[in-house]
């Protein structure tokens, strides 16, 4: 059958299509858990139930007692961006002592974006990050994303990459190993808190962490920032974390990292903010790297803290133009 000119053009049209590889990767990440139909369905369901119960007993400790009830625990939760997840933070209480330093793993939390350990050190100390490691029951290591410490209280918050499969669905038994710490003390001459020399020792702390499941949020509508189209990917929220992919079409990561001259360091040409219902900025991170570049522009993964349910604002600023979109977070 011959095609007329319009049909021929439609058949051979050059399309700007989404990247199948990226779409596939995201779909495979979002797909539901594996489910098999078996002729042994009834026995399998029974065995599965028993296995699940054992897994829950193994991985998930007694429901997280309110860490906020622990003296100073509320501050620790707020500092770690876990104020909205107080009921989902696993209270651990594991203690390790070595070389005169006592380290307590107070609590732990994990969702699809981050794994957070809440520690107390006495005397106040910070770990030697180069020799520190977090592993799960399969021996996998998790890189540290960030950390903060309070020299006055000895509070230490360590945030690591999210747990890998299948920990991300079942929970995990993790082990934190420290081989060296630094005394963290106030230097009156420098008028600042400083790390002292390393102190060798062995501190091994274990925790079983349940996973806080995220819910999918309505995707905000697209918008224009000058001549640039901004669209949004799927947004999700756990009790403590809100994530959303922001697509800036037609601009590269390098262009987004430029600064507007202001006589000093310059102002960033691009900013991404997550603002909570009370107006506080709760952006935790967003990254721009060569890996952010897509065939159509740049995708930026925004991570922010969820403290309360309500309307959160995603604010995209580019070249002085602002675009606000509301995320309704349950």
């Amino acid at each position: 059958m011959s095609l007329d000119p319009l049909e021929q053009r439609l058949t051979h049209i050059e399309l700007e299509t989404p990247d199948p590889g990226r779409v596939s990767a995201r779909v495979l990440t979002l797909r539901p858990k594996a489910r098999r139909v078996s002729v042994f369905r009834v026995p399998a369901v029974g065995l599965g139930t028993i296995a699940l119960a054992l897994a829950v007993l193994y991985f998930v400790p007694a429901a997280a007692a309110a860490l906020a009830g622990v003296p100073g625990g509320g501050d620790l939760l707020r500092e770690a961006g876990l104020a909205g997840a107080a009921g989902k933070v696993t209270t651990v209480g594991a203690v390790a002592e070595s070389s005169g330093y006592r380290i307590t793993l107070v609590g732990a939390y994990a969702d699809s974006e981050r794994t957070v350990l809440l520690l107390r050190t006495s005397p106040s100390a910070t770990p030697d990050f180069a020799t520190m490691g977090l592993t799960d029951q399969f021996g996998r290591s998790y890189p540290m994303q960030s950390g903060s410490s309070d020299g006055r209280t000895g509070d230490l918050i360590l945030q690591f990459d999210p747990l890998g499969w299948p920990d991300g669905t079942t929970g995990a038994r993790v082990t934190l190993r420290l081989n060296s710490v630094h005394r963290f003390a106030y230097d009156s001459a420098a008028r600042d808190w400083r790390n002292g020399p390393p102190v060798a020792g062995t501190w091994t702390l274990q925790a079983s962490i349940g996973i806080d499941e995220a819910v999918t949020l309505a995707t905000p509508s697209a918008g224009q920032l000058g001549g640039v189209t901004c669209t949004f990917g799927a947004a999700r929220a756990s009790a403590a974390t809100i994530v959303i992919d922001v697509y800036m079409h037609g601009v590269t990561p390098d262009q987004l990292e430029q600064r507007i001259p202001d006589g000093g360091k310059g102002l960033p040409v691009f900013q991404l903010l997550l603002i909570d219902p009370s107006g506080d900025v709760v952006t935790q991170s967003y990254g721009l790297s060569p890996a952010s570049q897509t065939s159509d522009g740049t995708v930026i993964h925004l991570v922010g803290f969820r403290s309360v349910p309500g309307n959160y604002t995603v604010r995209v600023v580019y070249q002085g133009v602002e675009l606000d979109r509301v995320l309704r977070v349950p």
């Binding site: 053009r9 399309l15 989404p18 779409v23 779909v27 539901p32 669209t231």
Partner: protein, 181 residues
């Protein structure tokens, strides 16, 4: 989560989610690029369609048709739902209902010669949702009228007629744009 696919194939093939993505993600993305109003939404549609297919993979029955027919029904339904969502949100402001379909080959030929692919896609994206889906299935994915019809719930004859009407509407749009630059 997997399905055994045998229709139209000499050897039964077990289709896993990974295999489904590997085989069909490029076609799904191409379909989405034609029917969605912009690239961002095309990506959302492609993702939604593939995710639906993966979730429904256990429900595929080879006795009821080819895996492609099963998949395209899911993809078309995903695009319909996306279009309804857009309508609810007031995104669709452009309709073609007032334009009388007319075929003017000479004008069309002239218009086509001057038209860039991006402009043709822009006109295509302003067609009604079902027209876009049919043209995407027929020309974007290379399905015959029977296969395209199966995906949208039409017989081969009806699909053929509907595709011709969609082409006529697209021609009318091109003609208008050519005469009123």
């Amino acid at each position: 989560m997997e399905a055994v696919l045998s229709a139209g194939q000499t050897q039964p093939v077990t289709l896993t989610a990974e295999e489904l993505c590997r085989r069909y993600s490029a076609s799904v993305c191409r379909f989405a690029a034609i029917v969605a109003p912009n690239t961002g939404e095309a990506e959302d549609l492609a993702q939604d369609a593939l995710l639906r297919a993966i979730r429904a993979i256990d429900s595929y029955d080879p006795r009821r048709g080819t895996p492609e027919a099963w998949l395209w029904r899911i993809v078309v339904n995903a695009s319909r739902d996306a279009a309804r969502r857009r309508q609810r949100m007031g995104w669709l402001i452009d309709r073609i209902g007032l334009i009388t379909p007319r075929e003017t080959d000479s004008v069309e030929t002239l218009a086509l010669e001057k038209l860039r692919d991006a402009d043709l896609v822009a006109h295509l994206r302003r067609l009604p949702e079902r027209d876009r889906a049919l043209l995407a299935l027929r020309y974007g994915l290379g399905l015959d009228t029977g296969e395209a019809g199966q995906a949208v719930g039409l017989s081969a004859d009806s699909a053929g007629k509907a595709i011709r009407r969609a082409l006529a509407r697209l021609r009318a749009r091109l003609e208008v744009s050519f005469r009123e630059p």
